[in-house]
Symmetry: D2
Subunit: 464 residues, 4 copies
């Protein structure tokens, strides 16, 4: 069904103008002022966007859906995650494939892909986590890149014994990534120091969620960023620091970039609006806010916003990792290291960034759309199919009502977790209409689309 979006103010990283957008066959085919609706096919669906903003569909580059972690599984599936994403304005996500240490990469890829297939309502791709690097793994990783359209790896300097890759394999992987033109996304915390510090805290009886942050302080993250950028400098690989939470780590990455290292930085929304006092809430409620890197002292928020505004941080994702408070988070009641990590945010991201970024005067609309959509598309090889409003681009569009005001709450959330980390928070702005390849999938915060419409985006390596 053709689609005409009329009279919206179109916002991209470089543009700000009023025009009509006409979409046919899943793509944008015309962007003009005053398209005569009468001349269009009869069945054209018309969206009135006057007084509203029109953004390219938002992209979340850091999502967990299927996630076996600490002996349990994250709660969402592609259906719930898709609905949540779309309700919030996100039309594309990239999920992490997180195999166990002895799993074969290809079978992990197949498992994750099969869980998405037919159940997604957003378009999606995967980062392939590399947790082993023997010859078989290397062969399969190459196949995953060449044959399956996966153009990004993920490595963990953290999570010793589970996901952590040793320095030797890390170097080898980066060298291979360089050769393949694949970007390596990295969780930059030092696994061994965290393990040791956690053991010490637990031994000292410091078992509550408020001890999670002290068990992995900012210098641990800065050391990780230093290490990954050193390895990138030595191998020439392009790297991407996920969920960077503190000024020290940003600073390490920026210094590396000035030395010539190809490094991009991601922030995630919890670090922008929450702080470590959340994890100190009484009655174990702090567990809702346990994620890694942890929520930091409040002053880091402004440092991250500064870096977003200046272009030093490229993208804003979520690290959505949905675990219930009851039954999952409380596995760590006696030991914070057993709390499944994650602050579900996939539905709330865009509204939170709009409210605390744009409305608060910290960033402008161009930076907002760049960080929440376009940069992810560019870095991960999906541009201009995604992240753009241009003739030929996928008709993934968000008509945004900048004046809407409301509250976030579990009640309106599609994620299956039993809590909303932002319960009762005021937000401004909402996606009035969200389309995926020309089809309306959400309206006014409600999913109205088709499960199964989402497709795997096959990406080509671009990081040469």
């Amino acid at each position: 069904m053709p689609l005409l979006i009329q009279g919206g103010r179109i916002i991209t990283p470089n543009d700000d103008f009023v025009a009509d957008i006409y979409c046919e066959d899943q793509t944008i085919t015309r962007i003009e002022q005053g398209i005569d609706a009468g001349s269009l096919p009869k069945d054209t669906q018309i969206v009135d966007a006057r007084g509203k903003l029109v953004f390219p569909g938002f992209i979340d580059p850091h999502v967990h859906i299927h996630l076996p972690f600490m002996g349990t599984h994250a709660k969402d599936d592609y259906e719930s995650a898709s609905k949540a994403a779309l309700a919030g304005g996100t039309t594309t996500l990239i999920e992490m494939i997180c195999p166990g240490p002895s799993d074969e990469p290809m079978s992990a890829f197949r498992e994750w892909a099969s869980l998405a297939e037919g159940r997604a309502a957003v378009d999606y791709s995967f980062h392939m986590a590399v947790v082993r690097f023997d010859e078989l793994a290397q062969r399969q990783l190459r196949a995953i890149v060449h044959d399956e359209g996966i153009a990004s790896f993920k490595v963990f300097l953290a999570y010793k014994g589970a996901l952590n890759l040793n320095d030797s394999d890390l170097f080898g992987l980066l060298a291979m990534a360089r050769e393949l033109g694949v970007i390596v996304t990295a969780h930059c915390e030092n696994a061994d120091t965290i393990a040791a510090m956690q053991a010490r805290l637990i031994a000292d009886g410091k078992t509550g969620p408020e001890w999670h942050e002290p068990s992995r302080p900012t210098i641990v993250e800065a050391e990780g960023m230093r290490r990954i950028t050193t390895f990138a400098e030595l191998t020439g690989a392009h790297v991407y620091g996920v969920h960077t939470s503190c000024s020290e780590a940003v600073y390490e990455a920026v210094k590396a970039r000035l030395r010539g290292v190809r490094v991009w930085i991601e922030a995630v929304v919890p670090h922008l609006v929450l702080d470590k006092t959340c994890a100190e809430k009484p009655n174990f409620e702090g567990a809702k806010f346990v994620m890694s890197p942890p929520l930091r002292e409040k002053r880091h928020q402004q440092a991250l916003w500064n870096a977003i505004r200046g272009g030093d941080i490229a993208t804003i994702g979520t690290d959505h990792a949905p675990f219930d408070f009851n039954g999952q988070k409380d596995m760590g009641k006696a030991d914070f290291t057993k709390i499944p990590n994650g602050v579900p945010s996939i539905q709330e991201r865009v509204a939170l960034v709009y409210t605390h970024g744009v409305c608060a005067g910290r960033i402008d609309l161009q930076t907002f759309v760049d960080a929440c959509s376009t940069q992810a598309a560019r870095i991960f090889g999906m541009y201009p199919k995604k992240g753009a409003i241009g003739v030929g681009s996928d008709a993934d569009l968000v008509v945004w009502d900048p004046e809407w005001r409301g509250k976030l709450s579990k009640e309106h959330s599609y994620s299956k977790t039993d809590y909303c980390a932002y319960e009762g928070w005021d937000v401004q702005g909402r996606a009035s209409v969200v389309t995926v390849r020309g089809e309306v999938q959400a309206r006014d915060g409600k999913f109205v689309g088709n499960i199964g419409r989402g497709e795997l985006i096959r990406r080509k390596p671009t990081h040469f």
Copy 2:
């Protein structure tokens, strides 16, 4: 006369696609694949761009044309500068208005404006240099912003006794700029230290052009950048460091940006491809390469390229300041401090950046066009009229032959100076066709347009 550019590969900071561009009434009106030429007005001029790149017209944000300096005048006028700019692919320039210490700002503005009016073939604007800041000056500066469409100031921390503004006035100016939403461009070298060091060198008989660099080492520039960014942090003003020549100064600006300071960095092409050994050439030939900040040790080139690639340096200009070797530069034969400063580069800039940046693998096409065109338009309030290829934008377009190879030389230069600083240098790539608002002004390195076509671009403050 309507214009159709057919089949070019369109490159903007975010785009890379093949399409036709149709221009009417000075602006771009259609960007589509396969525009039927037969359906267009008869008099439509058709440019075959197949196999070529199409860029938005390049912008040089840092040019001197009328320049009384050290008792002489720069050689170019708007006619020669326009021809040189256009032959090289530059369709818009911003000239510095440099009044003397006791001139009234408004009369300086009028003088500079009158010299451009009717004689420019490129579009142009001005940065208003502020060399006095008494009440009359303040009043006139406000009028220049509000009534004359000038949205950027220039300050000199250097050139003591001539252009230098003291700290107190500098603070006041930045506070006023903040209020007006005007960006302040700044020459960041410490005037007093340079004056003192030059006096010492001359007294020691160190009089040749090779002593120019030692008289103003990198720490002097870094200190200047530190100072201007400190003042920007205190006032909230937005600042722009012109012709940043060394890694130390870049580093100061980036650190400030991470603290939240709104600061942009400009490089100029001489610092990217020349180094301090040029100024050490025998027989006073080094004088051709005397500019300020001076040409640096070669290692700074890579640092600047790294910063361009990473987006830390926003723009690449020229600081075009044309003085003859014979009769002007040689005023400083016995005393390097008397050598008029400048390395004419307005015609050569785009080809040099394309050759040493894109072809050498240092930056990609997107970064190239961003740094040489789009960023200048955005920062200085001309976007998307300039710096963009979009419906409604001015039809300033460059059809670029990426395969052309040739040499730079005085012989092909339109600047009136008696030498070319890049004599005999090989370059790759040339502007085949250059249009200003839909009219072809240059072809294959030759000016073919109309003197007088250029217009003053009236800009509005955007730095709030």
Copy 3:
């Protein structure tokens, strides 16, 4: 009268041993274990130091006594200041000579010297503040160095219109200091920005003492440190940053040192133990804590202690500048910029550093004595006459009771100001016996000596 100090634990920057010290003719003549008192002259005064520490007399390198400032005069004279110093364990001080902008240096020197002569009970020297740098001033400054035994200058980047030296004169002075081997001590805050910010705050009705810190934030001090070290790098002069209050300024100095700049850093005791909340005390009581650089956020205290422990900060002084709360500080009741600056600390310094440094485990005894005595002697050309316990050194000794506990208060203070900034604070440790050149001048916190015993220390330049 000969003096024997028996059985003390002798502490110097390098030593820690138990021995007897015998002094004759104002100097230490023997340091041995088990000196037989019976073999000594009959009139030998014997001090039992068993169980006590023996330090070289403490030196305060940054004191104001005669201080015309903001239209009034500091309250102390050499008699009161000497008593306060000695009661606290300080046997040598260096006072700033602060002439007015049009005073001749030599007459200022004579004025200050005459006020000390015959009235000091401690030994003393002067830093010569340079507030003008014309030819006459230069000539007199040279004479002050060569003929009067003054081997250190003081410059103010702050206090515009009163004490501030412009960049050109600053450069000239540093060049002269380099030639003379004289170290330049510097107050590193940017005068012009402070003046502008203060004007703005006052205009906004922000007139209370709590606005003093925001009117001169840490970046202003860091910029000053950057500037003075840049100038030092260019001239080769040796510089000394007085009363450095924040981590940013320390960091600038350390970076400069690694570049090869000869720079030393001084902290003063108020910045180590007080913070900006002091200046926010209600009922104008904050005025008692107005000094410049201002008291900072608490986190800077630890940064300063770290730097003392690591040797990055060389000395701990006071910036003693005594103004009454009633009648002087309250001149600024309606305008904080009119509050005379200063937190009197000369008597309290040693006990505060011992309590909050040594007893709190932040620094060891060696670092304590180095920072509070020896380094000042070395840097300012008084070593080993002062700052040492060695044969031939002046018999300036402090027998310290490490177990004594008491409170600081106005009641026990010799300074003439009407308040004690540390009223009621608990301290540990006290000078049991204090000698100046072999004569006991204080006991158990009481002055017991002779006014007039103090001598001017004639110093020779050592900074070549």
Copy 4:
């Protein structure tokens, strides 16, 4: 036999005075002017030191003697090393105990200790390298500290598969060291990256010694320093970066120190006077200069000297590791990774630092003696027994002829290696007389003492 050293100019970190030194029973018992030789025991040996400098015996904190490495053994034994050390003015050394990965620490300690016992002519101690950290190792390490008088550990971030400790064990060791008050000396290069880069270079046919430096660039060392200081910050352990070779690594350590980390830096003499071009000498001669970290670009020399002068680098050692050019270094003829690492310097160190440091005006005499003697004694728990000239200190003294000029050469070297890395170099200054606990062991560059006189120095932990 009592000893009197007459009329020398005594230099320590804090002192510079002329006096006589009288020694009895191995220690200094009197330091006075004009000791009457007639009043001394008849058999007193008298050394005329007039016109000469007298230093405390120099200490080399980083020496290899017994060194099984890469399948061969370093050439020296305690006899040859002692003679070389003493001839150069070094009276105390600390040797590394380097067990194999499966050796028990205690048996390694006994092996190394037995090789020294009875064969040393200098006093000596050991750093205990920790290359395994299982429970047995932990128990034995505690015993080595408590029972054997070893108060320093050594860890290798480099030498993967041989000496390298993983992050987890490193953290555990630092935590134990913190508890024991033992300082941890660390070789800071990242083992895995070096292994990977070396494999790549060799595979590319880059096999000569000139490739040694590129296989372990400065960022690898900086990353190592960053890591060890991060771990020190987390555990509170005191660390000491050995043979720091580049400005980047110094900078990391200094930044850590300002954050409060207890970290000291050692430089070694080859990095101060040699550079990477040495390893590029033709005909495999470069192999003589292969050590790790490698010799760097020349600019790092000045950075290291700056850091010594400013006190940022505490000590200057050698990393003496003596391998023959013929028969050992040439094991790596076809593969630079097989070249045994080391540049023998134990005999040459003091003269080289005196010549290139003091005589070249880079450091003063106080800094010289501090870096080459006193600091090592203080950091490693031997002060004031060693490193001092004071009553009660060991009578380890060097009478230094500051005017002597000569050349370094294999001919005058006591080390058993078949080459001198400084062959033919001019030096100024020589040890005229060298005593160990009051007994003359060397004169005018010749060993004249007793093998076997040297004793193991039992040290107590001081790093609490």
